[in-house]
Symmetry: C2
Subunit: 435 residues, 2 copies
């Protein structure tokens, strides 16, 4: 069982910066990391996500990152309340995955369940991957590391790698993470297909938004995947694995912000990451950059999606093959021990990863749509100041996503999926043209 219970009490309060320093001074391990005395420490607000307060605290010796869950959506304000216990689930996720993914995530140093306050390793000189991609920078390890991260987490939290008793313990714990799952359900799976105050698409996208709202075939495909997201308890997911949840240097990758963690289909995390690479691909068309550089960056982006998938697949298959005596209840070794059983297991594994790939493709499309239509927009598009030009890049993303969801048979393998991305560039603002 988890060593920490979800102990929200009335003693929760929002910490001022001075209080955070005071709090850290009482934690010997953290004080030692910072070095010197609290008078030497500095603190700065670095929040750039939508929902939490985040600070970097530096001392003479080193730094830490502190994060507090606020009682509302930070970006929106207190008219959008949000349960603070999300920090408990983020800390629980970090604890659960620490031994599994090792250095692919920052180290959790402290969690205070009353204050819903987390202190973790400061990542330096890491930057947020999304910002790097927008600048056209390359991070050679990011996609492979994310693919490996998802493979490790998927294997060791699913019926492939652990007895169902262990999985059900995790399911019991993370089934409590409902406040953020409500945001996922609404912003990803519901809002883009209705008119709702939270949608924030630009007016040039109106015709596309209307077309998506009125597309019953598309909404049927979304319904299928929404139901899978809510019912297929395949593995413990990060739940929000976009390019803003990955910190990188050229030779290091760390996955952060696991507060949306939930059990769900493995392809959901992979699809989120792939979607944000494709979003960056389309958004590059709105940046004033050297065309040759842009083309090279785009080519590199598509290669990263290939790397993401191929690394995930090979790592998962390697973990599975290397664990013939796995405790997992999914495919007991005793059922597939002889020669024909071993041969069949190879087929089963191929079918398993193929099903994950189909999920990746569909969830990527759904994630692309939500980032154009729904509440939480992304800077890849947002920095394109000319809104007509921005809308044209967004329309390409929507057209690609719509085709993926309505004609999945056309995207049965990685080659077909990647080949299709450039074909939807410049489809234009009329959703009925060139369908």
């Amino acid at each position: 069982m988890s060593a920490v219970v979800n102990a929200r009490t009335d003693d929760y309060r929002i910490l001022a910066q001075a209080e955070i320093l005071h709090h850290l001074a009482a934690l010997p391990e953290i004080a030692a990391i910072l070095g010197g005395s609290p008078a030497d420490w500095t603190i700065r607000d670095v929040a750039d996500g939508y929902i939490n307060a985040v600070f970097i605290i530096d001392g003479p010796q080193g730094g830490v990152c502190a994060k507090q869950a606020l009682p509302w959506v930070r970006y929106h304000g207190d008219s959008w309340p949000l349960a603070e216990d999300r920090a408990f689930f983020e800390a629980s996720y970090m604890r659960r995955l620490a031994a599994i993914v090792g250095p692919l995530a920052p180290r959790l140093l402290h969690f205070d369940p009353v204050l819903q306050f987390i202190v973790m390793e400061k990542l330096s000189p890491h930057i947020v991957l999304r910002g790097g991609l927008i600048e056209g920078r390359r991070f050679p390890r990011a996609a492979a590391d994310v693919g490996r991260y998802v493979a490790l987490a998927a294997f060791h939290t699913s019926d492939l790698g652990v007895p169902f008793e262990r999985k059900f313990e995790d399911i019991g714990l993370f089934s409590g993470n409902i406040s953020l799952l409500r945001i996922s359900v609404d912003l990803i799976f519901v809002d883009p297909y209705v008119e709702v105050w939270r949608n924030r698409y630009i007016s040039e996208i109106d015709p596309w938004a209307k077309a998506l709202r009125e597309d019953v075939e598309l909404k049927t495909a979304v319904a299928r995947h929404r139901n899978a997201f809510l019912s297929n308890r395949q593995a413990l997911l990060h739940g929000d694995l976009h390019s803003g949840s990955v910190m990188v240097t050229e030779d290091d990758t760390r996955v952060i912000d696991g507060e949306f963690s939930t059990f769900g289909p493995i392809g959901f995390d992979l699809g989120a990451f792939a979607a944000n690479l494709i979003i960056n691909w389309y958004a590059q068309g709105g940046y004033d950059r050297d065309p040759a550089e842009r083309d090279a960056h785009r080519q590199w982006l598509l290669e990263q999606i290939a790397t993401l998938w191929q690394t995930f697949e090979s790592e998962l298959l390697a973990l599975w093959a290397a664990s013939p005596d796995t405790d997992g209840d999914g495919y007991p070794a005793t059922h597939f021990a002889d020669a024909s059983g071993q041969a069949r297991l190879a087929t089963i594994r191929r079918d398993f990863t193929q099903a994950v790939f189909q999920d990746l493709v569909a969830f990527a499309a759904i994630k692309m749509i939500r980032r154009v239509i729904s509440y939480a927009q992304v800077d890849d598009f947002g920095i394109i100041e000319d809104t007509k030009r921005r809308a044209e890049t967004q329309a390409s993303a929507l057209a690609f996503a719509r085709c993926v969801l309505k004609e999945p048979a056309r995207f049965a393998d990685l080659g077909a999926f990647l080949d299709a991305v450039p074909r939807f560039e410049n489809v234009g603002l009329n959703p009925d043209a060139n369908r």
Copy 2:
């Protein structure tokens, strides 16, 4: 939230009959049901399931049923330990479903979490459906009532009828029910396909057991459904809905013994009930009965499977259609509000129930196999004293189940499924003949 927590403590002890009477005397509601004074009460052991102690207590006014979870499998003895907290999950299941299924289940009167002791309504003059079927008796309401029970439970515990927050609360609670789920996983999905001490098939079935163990195609189909059972959190299941878990009169039906409750695919419960009707169909071939009576009983059994399915399907569709403003997150009304959306919803509903039917068929086959090969045998076959004759009826059940699992396309609708049952009678003890 449930009003009772799962509070096992060291104060648990196995209650002697006198202690049970003493315990009930302290419960005013139950003492009033029994009437008179404790000196007037009688208690008798009526356990006939595999795992718990069960008693009927009668007084001058009326009776109650008391059930205590023992620290082991009752039928096997203390060499097979089993967590007592299963009574907590049975009580939780009864509480959760009381308002949903109403009079289709007995009323829970008392639960003691320390003693893992349940007191419920005494069902009289009900008998266990399995015993009635073995005698060739008919219960006109049973199949329709069970179909309705499953439809009600499925709708009101799934993304069709409740917000995911409610569903996840249930998932969190029932994810703790691991001791009995381990029994389900092993006895239903693993043991029949390996050599293990718990298997209890008769020696005449050896060739069939060996054939199933060596059938990689069959084990692949079983693996697919085992993984669905462990990962598809579609609705709250009874988890053990065979004909021994249904108490009947000619005009009343009650579902009992919900201690195996877990979230899973809806077709699992329906398949369990259908499997036990088909088992009874085949077992009738081993009884010395009037052939005309036997044929009529068998015809009635197949009609009951049709009634089970048709009632489930029509009740589920009626609940769904009657709740256009359902709080369920599966198919938001706002996504399907216009004429084309409404039309599409009809297709979605048909596809939904068709998928449940496919699950019913597969899980029925898997359940039939476990009742012949695995630990918990059934009296339908067991009362056939001539073991060769018993084996012949069992072989028919295995042959039907094997075909269902390996050639699911042949069983795409109810008619095909029911038509096939008689065709597998007298296939014989050689599993390689007439494949």
